[in-house]
């Protein structure tokens, strides 16, 4: 029985893990295996574009080809290796608690799927996002076999535009998150660790930025200057960091009184080294939660900007902009506004579910 399961697990990634009750790992493995192979078998005709197409196509094909392979190797090693019982307080224990929550696992799986789909979009999408169909008969077609989610006012395929829009949204959100977590962590860690007058000045500045009506500032900056990818990422990131800084400062204030920091100081390490090597690594847990929440928030704000017509300029499909396109045809073509909004909701929900699950897993004492 055991041997049979192992053989099966080695051949079909994910089966062993699911049978062993490890749903999260099993679903990721089998999902990527089945999903990517399905894409490969239906879309292999587009593969030769690797030779002529740009980097996005090459990355997409690489993901499709190497994804299942990686899943298979991971599963193979997993089946062969023995699993130790996770130590109390270790990362393994946190992962164990995380996967106990079905909602959190569903969120994580959705995020992974979103990222993979974003990567393979050039191969997956049936149409180019700016490709116009028959402008006489093809406009505002309801969902059908060729256009799974229908077409918009320029007879463009909505599904393809949503797929490409997802790439934009995720890229903006990841970029903005990187900026805000980076700046916020350094700012808060310095304020908390150095303390005194430096702390006072740094946190005053944070207060000013937190008092900012964020959406208003975003609208002002984007409307005044030419909206571009870099500008939107920068503005979203730079309005998010004060919250991170405040969180980090609070954590650092408690961390710096702990024994291991005292020990590091007794060893004569420099402040810089203590901060970078001893304090900041211990912030990983709260930062992950903040980052997941921030991702959801950023996607919401970015789509809000797009909805107001302040997102990335026209040929680039953005979810918010697509909802705005559908606003005037709500009565005749509801799908134009409905599906992009659904995409926003699904991605924000999954980031928030993961944030919740992580918070529960990291601190079981918290009630939610």
């Amino acid at each position: 029985m055991e041997t049979g399961r192992r053989v099966l697990g080695a051949l079909c990634p994910g089966v062993h893990q699911i049978l062993a009750g490890r749903w999260a790992a099993g679903l990721i493995l089998s999902g990527s295996w089945v999903g990517l192979l399905a894409v490969a078998t239906t879309r292999w005709r587009t593969f030769p574009a690797v030779l002529t197409g740009g980097w996005d196509v090459r990355i997409a094909v690489a993901v499709i080809v190497f994804g299942p392979l990686a899943a298979w190797i991971w599963s193979w090693r997993d089946v062969r290796g023995s699993r130790e019982h996770p130590e109390a307080g270790s990362a393994g224990e946190v992962v164990g608690r995380f996967v106990e929550s079905p909602a959190a696992v569903a969120g994580l799986l959705t995020i992974i799927a979103l990222v993979v789909v974003a990567l393979i979009t050039p191969v997956l999408a049936s149409f180019h996002p700016a490709e116009q169909g028959d402008l006489l008969a093809g406009r505002f077609r309801p969902p059908s076999g060729t256009h799974l989610l229908g077409t918009d006012r320029h007879a463009r395929d909505l599904l393809s535009r949503i797929l490409y829009g997802g790439r934009v949204s995720l890229a903006v959100a990841f970029g903005a998150m990187g900026i805000s977590v980076g700046v916020g962590t350094l700012w808060g860690a310095v304020a908390g660790y150095v303390g005194g007058r430096v702390d006072g000045v740094l946190m005053r500045i944070v207060d000013v930025f937190i008092a900012f009506p964020r959406l208003v500032l975003l609208i002002a900056v984007v409307a005044m200057y030419e909206p571009s990818f870099v500008l939107i990422v920068a503005v979203l990131g730079l309005t998010q960091w004060p919250g991170v800084a405040r969180l980090v400062r609070g954590e650092v204030l408690s961390l710096r009184e702990r024994e291991f920091v005292l020990a590091a100081r007794a060893l004569g390490y420099s402040r810089r080294r203590i901060l970078l090597r001893h304090v900041i690594p211990n912030l990983l847990a709260p930062l992950t939660v903040a980052a997941a929440l921030g991702m959801g928030n950023t996607i919401l704000l970015e789509s809000g900007l797009g909805f107001l017509g302040l997102g990335l300029p026209a040929p680039v499909p953005t979810w918010g902009g697509m909802v705005a396109d559908g606003r005037s045809v709500l009565f005749t073509a509801w799908w134009v506004a409905a599906f992009p909004g659904l995409a926003i909701t699904v991605s924000v929900v999954s980031f928030n579910l993961v944030a919740d699950g992580l918070r529960d897993a990291l601190d079981p004492r918290l009630p939610w």
Binding site: G320, L353, P367
Partner: protein, 328 residues
């Protein structure tokens, strides 16, 4: 407590000035100029220069900044370029509408959230609880502008056209076009009908957040000794929940009231845009689009003031609901 409130408000002045200063420089350093609004084709270069100097736009940036700050100190907010009337009168016309919308949304969000959260906590770990949890995260994650559109789709477009419901709700504005012709109760009904969808849209996300806080609060209080004591002395479950559990669980939730005020105001920007609601948020979006500098600045200051008042309100409410907290 009054003294505490006054000190806090005075202390917040530099904060508001800081926000205003940043906004001032962000918009003034941007390319473009509001004088373009008054320039018509065929105007000579001289006239354009005259227009610019009339609005004081020809002065160097730091002079303009000092002028603006000093006039702000005297309570002078300036003259709106695009509305062609004083900024104060533009705000006076739109702010009450925003206050009405957000005030009602606040009531709905907290009322609904408190009830939902308590209900959920009393059925903890049941399927109802788990299901509601996921439902609340979903509601919390829906972009307000899209939720608004979908509500319009269902309750005004489809209900009126395709499904032929007896009742459908208006999708934009504050009153119908035939408002004046209606009888008095009819006018009230018209107002209420126009409020339903915007208020629901604005309240939904916040209601979900409040419900989660309330659930956490109730769960924490349920485990405490005094609840066991109340049960032990034979109080009905209803009395225990209402008088002992909810009352204590409300303490942290009430402070959210202040903290969520600015969130509501920001949310109102998009919701007003979707429902064509003539409020402050819409005025602000339009003012930014038309580069109406005085109006943008006044609007941003207003939003910053709302944040300050919200924070103060949170602290004061905390002292009101929790007798252990005292502000000297």
């Amino acid at each position: 407590m009054t003294r505490y409130a006054i000190t806090r408000l005075l202390g917040a002045i530099p904060l508001v000035l800081g926000v205003a200063t940043v906004v001032f420089f962000v918009i003034n350093l941007a390319p473009g100029d509001p004088s373009l609004h008054f320039v018509t084709p065929g105007m000579s270069g001289e006239t354009i220069a005259q227009v610019r100097s009339n609005f004081g736009l020809d002065a160097p940036l730091h002079i303009r900044y000092l002028k603006w700050i000093s006039s702000l100190a005297t309570g002078e907010l300036g003259y709106s370029f695009s509305h062609r009337r004083p900024v104060l009168s533009v705000i006076a016309a739109s702010l009450p509408n925003t206050l009405l919308l957000s005030g009602l949304a606040l009531v709905v969000a907290f009322g609904g959230g408190i009830l939902l959260g308590t209900y959920q906590a009393l059925r903890r770990t049941s399927w109802t609880d788990v299901g509601l949890n996921v439902a609340l995260v979903t509601v919390y994650s829906i972009p307000a502008f899209w939720l608004g559109l979908m509500l319009i789709l269902v309750f005004s477009v489809m209900a009126r056209g395709a499904w032929d419901w007896p009742v459908w709700l208006p999708s934009s504005g504050m009153v119908s076009t035939d408002h004046e012709a209606l009888s008095f109760p009819g006018r009230i009904g018209d107002h209420v009908a126009h409020l339903v969808l915007p208020v629901l849209t604005l309240a939904a996300g916040m209601m979900a957040a409040v419900a989660r806080f309330m659930r956490a609060g109730v769960l924490e209080v349920l485990d405490q000794e005094h609840v066991r004591a109340a049960r032990a002395k034979g109080l009905s479950e209803r009395a225990v929940v209402l008088g002992h559990v909810m009352r204590n669980a409300l303490i942290p939730v009430v402070t959210l009231l202040g903290l969520y005020l600015p969130v509501l105001f920001s949310g109102a920007v998009l919701v007003e845009y979707v429902f064509a609601w003539p409020g402050m948020g819409r005025v602000l979006v339009e003012s930014i689009a038309s580069r109406d500098y005085p109006l943008i600045l006044a609007g941003s200051i207003l939003f910053a003031v709302v944040v300050v008042i919200g924070n103060l309100l949170a602290d004061l409410l905390y002292a009101v609901v929790d007798p252990r907290v005292r502000h000297g």
